[in-house]
Structures are given as structure tokens and as C-alpha cells.
């Protein structure tokens, strides 16, 4: 298997053959596009893109073959790929929830309508794939333009992920989580009492058909604690999924947080499965440990998740630009002390 270093060495030797101003087609990825896709990632990010796969053509082909990546490309007649966008598996455990993103355009074609055509093609693809039940995106908040486009494409605001990504310089960038449901059924959720009002609003805004059951802190513990934790050292972020919590659950979450902090994480996110009362009740120990509401992440587990988040550094609120009143209301929710 090619390593990242080998792939980058190869890419750095290749001349950029893309000429500006040429006619292109926008269509679904073909296996023979993989080399040109990797070349595009290199032209856009040089060696800085954190995910190795996008520099290694066989890895891109493999991800597409196994249904983890559904790209669309803008291609010149000579085979060069000048634009890319994709639906892809990322953090959510539910395989039917894909992330919408990775939009990029070759530097020679910036300021063109390529990204618009890629996004339109991806929307058509999204609606045609039977395995895709919902999609979400993370719209950056250093500008409102991505949020505006997301709204125009029918995505709904559901959460604000504070300080999620490293930005230019020393700052970080918050992201507005946006969501679009494609096919769903009525579900039952357990809403922790201290944030039930906020959850009710978010569910209504996302137009989700849910039966909401009020949950008290004394909610019964499960037989066993089941957590999954991912750390993204390059971004300084820990993400944990909570499936169920028993009596040792709160301690297990604290231990996971401490281990992630030792690896350099400064942002901690827990996604609590609201279909499972013991997982939803994890919101109380988290709130007592400095966590605040991040929002709702619909379909995260197939069932919806409550996002609780904690930052080791105060968020730079003045750098958060929000497009909609709903997004501003979500921001207010994320900054408020939980009313326990």
C-alpha cells in the first residue's frame, strides 16, 4: 500500500496540466478519475490535507467501492479533474447518514460556477441513492456564505459546534451543523428535562416526526456502559458516541475526556443517543462537568443524538458569523449555562 509520503512525493513531481477557461462536464466519479482527484487535492491543499486517503488513488477507489465515499467531479476533456464534492461516511455511526462536503475547485477555476454545478449534481445523487437516508454538513462560521447556500439547498440548522476546526493563524472556526432528512419514520426520543425546551425547538425546525418523552435524572441505568471515542489530534477534537450508560458511565466519560486531553484535545463532544434513556441521562453528569448543549444531531445513531460539548478555552464568539435567526438562537443555547 502506498504511504502518504510516497503519494505526496509522486504528486509533487507531476506538472499541473490544467488550463483555465475550458469547457467541463460535471458527473459522478469514475474509477479512472482517482489519480486526477488526488492531483486536485494536492493542487488545492499542497501537502496539508489531514486525511491520507485523498492523496492515494487506490484508497480513493477503495472508499468509493465500499460505499464510504460518493464523489462527483468536474472533468475537462483531457481527464483532469478541476472540481470535486462528495457525500461521505464520517463520524456518525449510522451508515445511512452521510456528510455533505469536500467541495473544492482547482485554483485556475476559482470564482466560477463549478462548485454550484457540483453541489447540484450531488443533491441529485443524494436523492437517488437508496442507502442514503439523511445528510448533514458543517458550515463554517467565519463567513455566512456557506450557511446561506446550505439554507438555499434545503438544509436546516440543528447545532453549533463551537471552535471545531483550526483556522488560519491562532484562531479556530466554529461550524453550524445543518441537516436534511431524506427518508425517515416516527421515532421516540427521551429528552433530558433541563434541555427539553431547546430540543423541542430543534426538532420542530428540522421538521422531524418524533414522540418526545420527558426524561428525569433518576433515569434507570443500563446493564453496561457502551461508548466509542475518536480523537482528531490534528484538530484537537475528541468525539464520543454514547450508546448506553450504567453506574460507571459518568466515570468512563471523564476518563475518556482526560485521555483525549493528554493527546492534546481542547474541544470535547459527546453524542448521546436520545432513543436510549440511560444514554440521554448522561447529559446530567456532563453538564455538571462543564459541558453545555451543542444542539441536536438528527439520525446520528439512526436515532437522533443530543450533542453536549465542552471547550478548554473560551470560544471566540466575536468571530462567529451566523446567517439566520435560528442559528443565532442555537448559538444562545450553546452559550447558556444548563439550568439543572
Amino acid at each position: 500500500m502506498t504511504t502518504r509520503a510516497e503519494a505526496l512525493a509522486r504528486l509533487s513531481q507531476q506538472p499541473d496540466t490544467v488550463q483555465p477557461g475550458l469547457v467541463y462536464v460535471v458527473e459522478a466519479f469514475r474509477p479512472e478519475d482517482a489519480e486526477a482527484v488526488c492531483d486536485l487535492f494536492y493542487r488545492v491543499y499542497q501537502d496539508a490535507y489531514p486525511v491520507d486517503m485523498y492523496y492515494i488513488p487506490d484508497a480513493v477507489r477503495g472508499a468509493v467501492a465500499e460505499g464510504a465515499l460518493y464523489p462527483v467531479v468536474a472533468r475537462l476533456a483531457g481527464g483532469e479533474v478541476i472540481g470535486f464534492a462528495a457525500l461521505y461516511r464520517s463520524s456518525p455511526p449510522f451508515a445511512g447518514l452521510l456528510e455533505f462536503g469536500l467541495g473544492m475547485v482547482h485554483p485556475a477555476y476559482r470564482g466560477s460556477l463549478i462548485l454550484f454545478h457540483l453541489t447540484t449534481e450531488l443533491m441529485d445523487l443524494m436523492n437517488s441513492l437508496p442507502s442514503v437516508e439523511a445528510v448533514y454538513g458543517e458550515a463554517v462560521c467565519d463567513t455566512i456564505i456557506t450557511q446561506h447556500s446550505s439554507a438555499l439547498f434545503g438544509f436546516r440548522e440543528v447545532a453549533l459546534e463551537l471552535e471545531l476546526m483550526p483556522g488560519g493563524g491562532s484562531g479556530r472556526i466554529s461550524c453550524l451543523a445543518v441537516f436534511r432528512n431524506i427518508r425517515d419514520r416516527r421515532r421516540t426520543l427521551h429528552a433530558p428535562a433541563f434541555c427539553a425546551g431547546e430540543l423541542g425547538k430543534l426538532l420542530a425546525w428540522a421538521e422531524l416526526d418524533r414522540e418526545v418523552v420527558a426524561l428525569g435524572e433518576e433515569s434507570l441505568a443500563a446493564q453496561a456502559t457502551r461508548l466509542e471515542v475518536q480523537t482528531f489530534a490534528h484538530a484537537g477534537v475528541m468525539r464520543g458516541n454514547v450508546y448506553s450508560l450504567s453506574g460507571d458511565g459518568a466515570a468512563a466519560m471523564r476518563q475518556a475526556e482526560a485521555a483525549a486531553a493528554e493527546q492534546g484535545c481542547r474541544v470535547f463532544q459527546w453524542f448521546l443517543n436520545l432513543a436510549e434513556p440511560s444514554a440521554a441521562a448522561g447529559a446530567w453528569p456532563l453538564a455538571r462537568n462543564g459541558y453545555r448543549l451543542g444542539g441536536l444531531m438528527p439520525r446520528w445513531f439512526d436515532d437522533d443524538a443530543l450533542l453536549m460539548q465542552k471547550l478548554l478555552d473560551p470560544p471566540a464568539v466575536e468571530r462567529i458569523n451566523l446567517y439566520s435567526d435560528r442559528a443565532r438562537e442555537i448559538q444562545a443555547m450553546t452559550l447558556a449555562e444548563p439550568a439543572l
Binding site: 462536464v25 476559482r110 470564482g111 466560477s112 460556477l113 454550484f116 454545478h117
Partner: protein, 77 residues
Amino acid sequence: MSATLEDLKKTFAFAIPADVLAKLDPAKPLAAQGVDSLAMTAMAVAMQNAFGVKVSVEEGLKLKTLNDVLAFVNKAR
């Protein structure tokens, strides 16, 4: 009734950063005035929603300036 440059600027109020929109010369290329791919995407969707026009790849390649966009909107709708 034909759309005007002012109509376009109102439609693009959230698509193009305010400081860029305020100084936009309708005769000069958008890309050269700070309108990037993200803004172009938002512009195209806003245009589609406000004027009911859809931009094909071929047509999109010809839309370099705000005047080009205005001519396209008035011809297409």
C-alpha cells in the same frame, strides 16, 4: 418586467460579502473583484430561486461579470 442591477444586488445580499457587493463594478469580472466559488454558488442558487432561471455548465462559463448575469437573467426568464 426586466430585472435591474439593483434587483440582482438585492438578490445577492447574502451571497456576496457586503463589502465586496458594495464596490462591485458590473462591467468587471466577478472573480477579479473578490467573488469566490462559494459566493458564486450562493449567487446561482439565489438567482434560481428569485428569478426561476437555471444556469447550465455552458451558460455558466459565459457569466463573467454582473452585466453578463443580468443579461442572462433577462434572456432566460
